[in-house]
C-alpha cells in the first residue's frame, strides 16, 4: 500500500487498525471498570465479545476469505450487501430498470387488478430509439360494436368429440400445486371461474383444490406425469380416463418444455414438499423432486406425434402441447411428421425463454431457449409454410403481463395469451424472487400457513377477475385502433419493427 500523505479512506488500514483497537479497548475499559466505575464493564464485556468474535473470523473460520483477512470490519460488506436487493427495489432502481418486471410493468398489473385509473401523464418512459416494437394503428379506428367476438374454440379443426370454447383469450398459465400453495391455487381457480377463463394446473399431479373451486381446467401432463403415471414413468391410460371424467377438466396439455428451463424437467425443491404434495404427486418427502427431461414415450419426432394422438384418443378432449422453441429445423420436422401422420395437437403453447419458474437451474433460466417473440414468429412461419396453421391454435406465454406485449404476440400469430406471473402480480406478488424457498412474503408460492394467511382468497380472486376484465378492455381498444375486427386479422404488418429489434430479421418488404 502506497503511503500518499493524502487523507483517503483506506479500508485495508482501517480494518487492521480495528483488529488491534478492539482488544486494546476491551482491556482499557476493563481497567476503567476496576478504577473508575463499574459501569465501564458494560463496555469491557461488549468489547471482549467483539474480540472473541474477531479472533474467530481471523483465525477460526475458513469459509469467508474476506473475514479471514480483515476480520470484523469485513462484515460491513456482507451486512450492506444483504440489504441491497430491498434497497434497490424500494429506493434506488429506476422505474424501467428492474428485471424480470420493472416497476412500471408491475404497477400496470396492480392497477388493472385493483381496478384503478391507468392513464399516464406527460409521456412514455420507454426507449423509442431503436429496440422497441410498436403497433401500427389505422387512420380510421373502428368502433367496438364492429368487432367480432373473441371466442376461440379448441379442437374444432379435427372435429374433436368435446371441443372447448374459451370466451376470452386469456389463460392462467401452468403453475403446479407445489410451486403454489393451497391458498394461491384457490385464488387463481376462483378468479378464473369468476372471469370465465381457463386455468392450467401445471405439472402438480391430481388437481384437488382446482376441482374443489370448480373452474375450467387444462390438465397438464408433465414429463414426470404426476397424477397419471405408471410406475415405469409411462402414461397410465386408466388414471387419465378417471381424471377427465371430472367435468371441469376441459383440455389436456402435454408439456414438452418450459421457457425457464427448456431441456430440463420440472423441479420442486425439498423445502416445498409437504405430506399432501408427496401424496398427490407420489414422491418421497425430504428430497428435491426432479422430473425427467422428456416423456418416456417420446424418444423421437415420430413417437412424440404418436403420443399426442394417443392422449387425444384416450382423453377425447382437445390436447395441446407446450414447448419453448429451440432448433427451427427440428420444429419443421415435427410439423412435417404431424402432417405425415395426420395428427395435430389442438394447440401449441409457445413459451418464451424469458418465462418464469418456481425453481430452475440458473444457466437454463438465463441461457437456454429462444425468446417468445422470435420463437412465436418462427412457429407461425413454419406452420404457415407447411400449410398447417389452420390445423391448430397458438397460445403464447412469456412476460405477456400487459396489453402492449400481448398485442405484439397477437400480431405475431398468437390466438390466446397465457400468463403465470401476470396473475401472480395481480394477486399481489411483489417480485421478492423467493418462489423456490417456501418463504414467499405474499403467501403465493409457499406452504407456510403463517405466510398464506396474508392472502385473502375472496379479495384476490376478485383482483384476478378485474385484471382479466381490464386486459380485455385494453385489447378491445387496441384492436379498434388497428382497424381489425378480430384478433385473427392482426398480422406482422401491424407491427413497426425498428432495426435493433430481434424481430427485424423477419421484415421482408419494409413498410
Amino acid at each position: 500500500m502506497a503511503v500518499t500523505g493524502k487523507l483517503v479512506v483506506n479500508l485495508h488500514n482501517l480494518a487492521r487498525f480495528t483488529n488491534i483497537a478492539v482488544p486494546l479497548l476491551a482491556g482499557l475499559f476493563f481497567v476503567s471498570g476496576l478504577r473508575i466505575s463499574f459501569y465501564f464493564h458494560f463496555l469491557s464485556v461488549g468489547f471482549l465479545f467483539l474480540t472473541i468474535l474477531n479472533a474467530f473470523y481471523l483465525y477460526g473460520q475458513r469459509g469467508h476469505s474476506l473475514l479471514r483477512n480483515f476480520g470484523i470490519l469485513g462484515q460491513g460488506r456482507y451486512i450492506l450487501e444483504s440489504v441491497g436487493p430491498e434497497l434497490r427495489q424500494y429506493l434506488y432502481s429506476n422505474d424501467t430498470e428492474e428485471r424480470p418486471f420493472n416497476r412500471n410493468e408491475r404497477a400496470e398489473v396492480y392497477r388493472k387488478a385493483q381496478n384503478t385509473n391507468s392513464a399516464s401523464s406527460f409521456g412514455s418512459q420507454k426507449n423509442f430509439d431503436s429496440t422497441e416494437v410498436k403497433v401500427r394503428h389505422s387512420m380510421f379506428p373502428i368502433h367496438k360494436s364492429e368487432l367480432k367476438h373473441t371466442h376461440i374454440t379448441f379442437g374444432e379443426e379435427r372435429g374433436c368429440a368435446n371441443p372447448y370454447t374459451l370466451e376470452r383469450p386469456f389463460i392462467i398459465s401452468g403453475m403446479s400445486y407445489g410451486a403454489l400453495g393451497e391458498s394461491a391455487v384457490r385464488v387463481f381457480a376462483r378468479g378464473a371461474k369468476q372471469a370465465r377463463i381457463l386455468m392450467n394446473t401445471g405439472e402438480g399431479g391430481y388437481p384437488k383444490y382446482h376441482l374443489e373451486e370448480g373452474c375450467d381446467l387444462i390438465f397438464q401432463i408433465g414429463t414426470a406425469k404426476f397424477g397419471v403415471r405408471q410406475s415405469d414413468g409411462q402414461l397410465d391410460d386408466q388414471k387419465l380416463r378417471d381424471l377427465v371424467a371430472n367435468e371441469t377438466v376441459k383440455m389436456i396439455e402435454i408439456k414438452f418444455s418450459q421457457g425457464a428451463k427448456p431441456g430440463k424437467g420440472g423441479l420442486l425443491p425439498k423445502e416445498k414438499i409437504t405430506e399432501e404434495i408427496s401424496e398427490l404427486r407420489g414422491v418421497p418427502i425430504g428430497e428435491d423432486v426432479v422430473s425427467p427431461t422428456s416423456h418416456a414415450e417420446c424418444t423421437d419426432i415420430e413417437s412424440a406425434v404418436r403420443f399426442i394422438a394417443h392422449v387425444q384418443e384416450v382423453s377425447q378432449l382437445p390436447v395441446g402441447i407446450k414447448m419453448c422453441v429451440g432448433l427451427s429445423t427440428e420444429f419443421r420436422e415435427f410439423v412435417t411428421e404431424m402432417k405425415r401422420q395426420n395428427v395435430f395437437p389442438d394447440w401449441i403453447t409457445v413459451d418464451g425463454a424469458e418465462g418464469g419458474s418456481g425453481a430452475a437451474p440458473k444457466a437454463f433460466m438465463d441461457r437456454v431457449g429462444i425468446p417468445l417473440f422470435p420463437g412465436l414468429k418462427r412457429v407461425n412461419n413454419i406452420l404457415t409454410e407447411l400449410e398447417a396453421r389452420d390445423r391448430l391454435k397458438i397460445v403464447a406465454s412469456g412476460k405477456l403481463v400487459g396489453p402492449g406485449r400481448q398485442m405484439i404476440a397477437f400480431c405475431l400469430g398468437a390466438d390466446v395469451i397465457a400468463s403465470a406471473r401476470g396473475f401472480m402480480l395481480a394477486a399481489g406478488c411483489i417480485q421478492a424472487m423467493q418462489c423456490g424457498n417456501n418463504t414467499c412474503p405474499i403467501g403465493i408460492t409457499t406452504h407456510d400457513p403463517n405466510l398464506q394467511r396474508g392472502l385473502d382468497i375472496t379479495l384476490k380472486a376478485n383482483r384476478v377477475e378485474n385484471y382479466v376484465n381490464n386486459l380485455e378492455h385494453d385489447l378491445v381498444e387496441l384492436l379498434c385502433a388497428t382497424g381489425c375486427r378480430s384478433i385473427q386479422e392482426l398480422s406482422f404488418d401491424h407491427l413497426y419493427v425498428p432495426k435493433d429489434s430481434t424481430l427485424h430479421t423477419y421484415i421482408i418488404n419494409s413498410k
Partner: protein, 141 residues
C-alpha cells in the same frame, strides 16, 4: 431448522433454566430488596445500575421466550452474566451468599452457551461463517 429435534428440546430446557434463574432475581432488583441494594452499592451503581441491569435482564428473558429472537437473548444473557462474574471476581467476592449468587450467574452463562452452541448456525454474525466451512454451495464467497 438445521438442528434436529432432541437438541432443540435441550435448547428449550436451557432457555427455561436461564429465564427462571434470571427472572426470580428481577423481583429483588426491582423491589429494592436490601441484599440487592447492598450488592449494587458495593458496585457503586445504586440505584440506576440496579434498574438498568434489571431491565436488561427482563429484555433477555423476553428475547429467550420468543422463538425468533432466542439467539439474541442468549448473546445478551451471556454478556450480562460475564459482567456479573467480573463483579464477583473484582468487587463482590465469593464468600457465603455471594458464592451462591455467583454460581447462579455461572449457571445462566452455561445455559446461554449451550443455547448458542445448539443454535450456532442461526447466531447473527457467526452462523454464516460456520456455514461457509461446511456447506460448499453457500452463496457467499
Amino acid at each position: 431448522m438445521k438442528s434436529r429435534a432432541p437438541s432443540l428440546i435441550l435448547s428449550w430446557i436451557a432457555q427455561i433454566i436461564a429465564i427462571v434463574i434470571m427472572g426470580q432475581t428481577l423481583y429483588f432488583k426491582f423491589n429494592g430488596a436490601p441484599e440487592s441494594i447492598v450488592l449494587f452499592t458495593e458496585l457503586g451503581m445504586e440505584p440506576e445500575g440496579r434498574m438498568l441491569v434489571g431491565i436488561l435482564e427482563l429484555v433477555t428473558c423476553i428475547l429467550l421466550i420468543i422463538p425468533a429472537s432466542v439467539t439474541f437473548g442468549a448473546i445478551l444473557g451471556s454478556a450480562l452474566m460475564v459482567g456479573a462474574i467480573i463483579g464477583h471476581c473484582t468487587v463482590l467476592g465469593w464468600e457465603g451468599d455471594r458464592f451462591y449468587l455467583g454460581i447462579l450467574a455461572v449457571s445462566v452463562l452455561i445455559a446461554c452457551s449451550v443455547i448458542l452452541y445448539i443454535r450456532r448456525y442461526t447466531v447473527p454474525f457467526l452462523g454464516s461463517a460456520l456455514h461457509g466451512d461446511e456447506t460448499p454451495h453457500e452463496e457467499r464467497y
